[in-house]
Symmetry: C2
Subunit: 326 residues, 2 copies
DNA sequence: CTGAAAGCGCTAACAG
DNA sequence: CTGTTAGCGCTTTCAG
């Protein structure tokens, strides 16, 4: 593999001259430039990015940590992170943290090891404590980590919209399925609001907790089955899209009609919600915007700028499906 | 940020000594080691990975190119690629090539620019021609690119299994939905076999072609609608999981019963297939194995080894759902 | 306009 | 066992 020195030698110029035509800066005579360009072509030269990165003290990589890449929510957000970053010359380094909380600490060390220039943290960060308030280019994605700027979705509104949808559809006895409690997560706020709104209207609210925020449909089926067995009179359900689909499946199997007997509101707005039958009424998170905004935020931090606010709150909306009355 | 020189200076030793304790090689007196270790602690030292990478001429990154990260098939495969790579000290650099065929060339250049050590190519590679037979650490994932080793799924068997399932369920007039033709893809082989098997049993096969291999559910719905309008007598459908779900939705809306009137076999075995209602009979691709195998293959190439075969073929199987008779 | 030289942070001979 | 030195491939002063 030809190096800059090989090019210089063959072209009969100094390496610095080659460097100058490479980066298009400094003065270089037209014919010298041509000669160098030609030699590069001949030698099929490609600059070694690692070497320039060492000099510039950057890598053009952004680490993106998520609990599960295969979950449609994260997969979609990452798609848009990648897209935005790409337009700015950065690349995404993936880190799936599922079942490996210590991987998070390790991943954050990537910043100090100069493996990545910044981090978008979409995972539960137990070990991130020591990096708080350090003004490192790290942003939290859809979760609140003290001392880190975050890009979140208005989950309070999400919870309220879900409650209103079920209320409007005439529910009197609902159940909501919540994430794993131990993982203190801002997004779970929606369940507090949901509960408040429902109760203020005299509706009975039962809460079921998942054992773990894992993406495992069979597990969801189990939870749904147990819930329906324990509370046969439930007439409304509020849960993540995928959990909601488990309920749909079970309810249909048991011959219950949707939405006549039971109404369901999902959360996330993944493609699952629109592709299933009946299509799920769901609270949609703006995944594209979330990704783009998070990407822009780290980029800004890397550029030495500061974010105007510690929290950027994105809007949610309800997408009407066939599991509630419109 | 403290460098190795700072540590050496403060500890009163040479940089090479620090380097030795860092890498645990060469002889270092126990107390010298302690002193150095202590100083590292004090200075909160972290080695600069870019510098060592420059020396070692590697990066520990593997580029993974896919047409669409958000597609559940790719998202899942990537999850397992990441997992396997992680265990070997490598990280995944993502590249979504959707609607940007020139990004592929650029991405392949990453190899020569020393941005990544290897590439797993899960995208349609129009521009990869010049890299053929170069013995670079590049493997094709679920597609055949001449001159590149590939890890594929036995799509012929997949097509046959699908045909047999529909045959067994009594179909006499089926339609199969194929990917975009222009993108010459090995995985489309299944449709040839499918067609052959069906026809050899005297079954009428119609083929519908998608305009683009894009992941867009609304588009799938349109295709399904047009297909059902054009061929109202269809009693069997063979399509990707997501396309199959569009058919399910439309058929149910039109009051057709599944599988009594129309039977459906999906392809991919994504989580969509099991979470929808009725659950989809589908040909499942071994996504976990696919990811692990591809990762191991690039790693092997990077290690200078050669693969025993140019093609590694993984098995598929049928997962029985409720859209066919069992 | 161009070349020589120093240096980014780290590793690996090679002498002591 | 430890320090000195050269060098990975590139960029950037600094002199001409």
């Amino acid at each position: 593999m030809a190096s800059i020195r090989d090019v210089a030698q063959k072209a009969g110029v100094a390496v610095s001259t080659v460097s100058r035509v490479l980066n298009n800066n400094g003065y270089v005579a037209a014919d010298t430039r041509q000669k160098v360009l030609h030699t590069m072509e001949e030698l099929d030269y490609m600059p070694n990015e690692v070497a320039r990165n060492l000099f510039y003290n950057r890598t053009n990589f952004i680490g993106v940590m998520v609990p599960d890449i295969a979950h449609p929510f994260y997969a979609t957000v990452i798609k848009y992170i990648e897209k935005e970053l790409y337009h700015h010359g950065y690349k995404v380094v993936l880190c799936n943290t599922v079942e490996k909380s210590d991987r998070e600490k390790e991943f954050v060390d990537m910043l100090r090891r100069h493996i990545v220039d910044g981090i978008i943290m979409g995972a539960h960060s137990l070990e991130i404590e020591k990096y708080r308030n350090l003004n490192l280019p790290v942003v939290a994605l859809d979760r609140i980590i003290e001392g880190l700027p975050n890009i979140c979705v208005d989950h309070c509104k999400g919870g309220r919209l879900a409650a209103e949808a079920l209320l409007h559809s005439g529910c009197r006895n609902v159940v909501q399925v919540m994430g794993y409690r131990k993982v203190q997560s801002y997004s779970e706020q929606r369940h507090i609001i949901f509960s408040e709104v429902m109760k203020s209207h005299g509706v009975q609210v039962n809460s079921v907790e998942l054992a773990w925020n894992l993406f495992d449909f069979q597990e969801y089926i189990n939870v749904a089955r147990k819930t329906l067995d324990d509370m046969p009179d439930v007439d409304g359900i509020f849960a993540t899209d995928m959990v909601a689909m488990a309920f749909i499946k079970l309810l249909l199997e048991r011959g219950r009609s949707i939405p006549e007997e039971v109404r369901i509101v999902g959360y996330d707005g993944t493609s699952y919600a629109e592709s299933c039958s009946p299509s799920l009424t769901t609270i949609v998170q703006p995944m594209a915007e979330l990704g783009k905004t998070a990407a822009d935020a780290v980029l800004k931090l890397i550029g030495g700028q500061t974010l105007e606010t510690d929290q950027i709150l994105l809007d949610v909306e309800l997408r009407q499906g066939s599991t509630t009355f419109s």
